[in-house]
Amino acid sequence: MKFLCVPCDKPMQLLQATPPDRGSVSLVYSCDACGYEFAMLTNPHETQVVTSLGVTLGKDGVAESKCPFTGVLAEMETAEDGIRWTAGAQERMSSVPEFVRPMARSGIEKYAKDQGYAEIDEKVLAEARSHFGM
């Protein structure tokens, strides 16, 4: 979707995006030529349809698409108590897509707990790969 300032015949530019409020995102556009501003206020369905593409709304991604399996995760056994992650291991997990990262973390924490580890570092990740034949 694009917006055009009809009097100036110039494309409008995104000026400001506010974080979602009950599923609604407010996006303020302005015309660089005349300074006219207007706001597009999405309803939750519009927000959901666009973010379902796996994209973010706004220049800084104010309406970020969250892990789509939040509902499932809430009912799963989440973080194993007492398992710590080193900064290096956390960084390695950034290569796992965000939408499956919580579930991947949960599986790795279970492996670490089964092996008697209190901390997950890069060595444990490598060991887990080997353990699972990857």
Binding site: L14, Q48, F99
Partner: protein, 294 residues
């Protein structure tokens, strides 16, 4: 007055550019995959997933590097079929490491991440109206999986599709013309009628249909030492595409699938048929490779 096409970008969110970046990431991750084959049907319950697993194993035994993407997000079964239900996704050198089964076949399935006691549900700000966005979200999720896995160098990537004629066509468009299709049916007119609709739907897509597999063509009876009839067969419905092979049902195989095992290396009729199917698929796809310069 300017039209949509006179303006570059959307002024801020760059939605199309973001979608393009995802597609580019998918293309990059799949660059080392020689052949992509989607296993679909339109009809549910005809054995798409089991056949996908069997075919991948047979292709692997013929010396091919193979992997399976379980694209049935709502009913993922490849994790159980492959004995990989408790294998987490782990970061590798170039993205997520590819989990592999005992035969060396790569398997990516949400069944490895979500217990069978849970339904796959997506976070939403439009509660109660999932029909307006869910299909889009599911395709995006499949895209994110494709773009994140370190598929490496593969001869075959088999994509196990969900049921539904419309979904089969949507996946054809989503996966692009580089992906060929194999359709699975059982011998009954009921199933063939639905698969016939999938053939018609796919005619409108640029994807190559390699042919169809007649699954559950009778069942193997250990007591009779013979294949016995299972479905009524009339063959009144001509699918108009080549038949790649027929595979009988085997209760022993069904039990092995439940256990996450695939007892290959025997001469039971289903395995003999699947080995022949793998040979046929190899011959057909290599005789006319898909143009990868899409």
């Amino acid at each position: 007055m300017k039209s949509y096409y006179d303006i570059t970008g959307d002024g801020g969110s760059n939605i199309l550019e973001q979608v393009g970046a995802i597609q580019a990431a998918i293309a990059e991750k799949l660059a080392g995959v020689k052949y992509r084959i989607a296993i679909g049907s339109g009809k549910g319950g005809v054995g798409k997933s089991t056949l996908t697993r069997q075919l991948a194993t047979a292709l692997r035994q013929r010396g091919n590097a193979c992997a399976i993407l379980d694209a049935d997000l709502n009913g993922p079964s490849q994790a159980r079929l492959s004995g990989l239900q408790d294998v987490p996704l782990l970061p590798g050198a170039e993205g997520v490491a590819l989990p592999k089964d005992a035969n060396g076949v790569g398997v990516v399935s949400l069944g490895s991440l979500i217990p069978e006691t849970e339904a796959v549900s997506f976070d939403t700000v439009a509660q109660g109206d999932s029909y307006t966005w869910r299909a889009t979200r599911e395709f995006a999720a499949v895209g994110e999986l494709l773009a994140s896995i370190d598929w490496g160098q593969l001869d075959y990537l088999l994509i196990d599709l969900p049921p539904g004629v419309e979904r089969t066509l949507q996946f054809a468009e989503f996966l692009g013309s580089q992906t060929s299709f194999i359709l699975v049916t059982v011998p009954s007119d009921l199933a063939r009628g639905v698969v016939a609709r999938s053939v018609v739907a796919l005619r409108g897509a640029p994807n190559r249909i390699l042919g169809y597999v007649e699954n559950m063509k009778g069942y193997w009876c250990d007591a009779c030492n013979n294949v016995r009839p299972l479905f009524p067969e009339s063959n009144r419905i001509d699918l108009g595409i080549p038949k790649l092979g027929s595979v009988p049902f085997d209760p022993e195989l069904a039990a092995a699938c439940d256990r996450g095992e695939l007892a290959v290396g025997n001469d039971r009729p289903w395995w003999v048929a699947v080995k022949k199917l793998a040979e046929t698929v190899e011959e057909i796809i290599e005789s006319k490779p898909v143009d990868v310069a899409e």
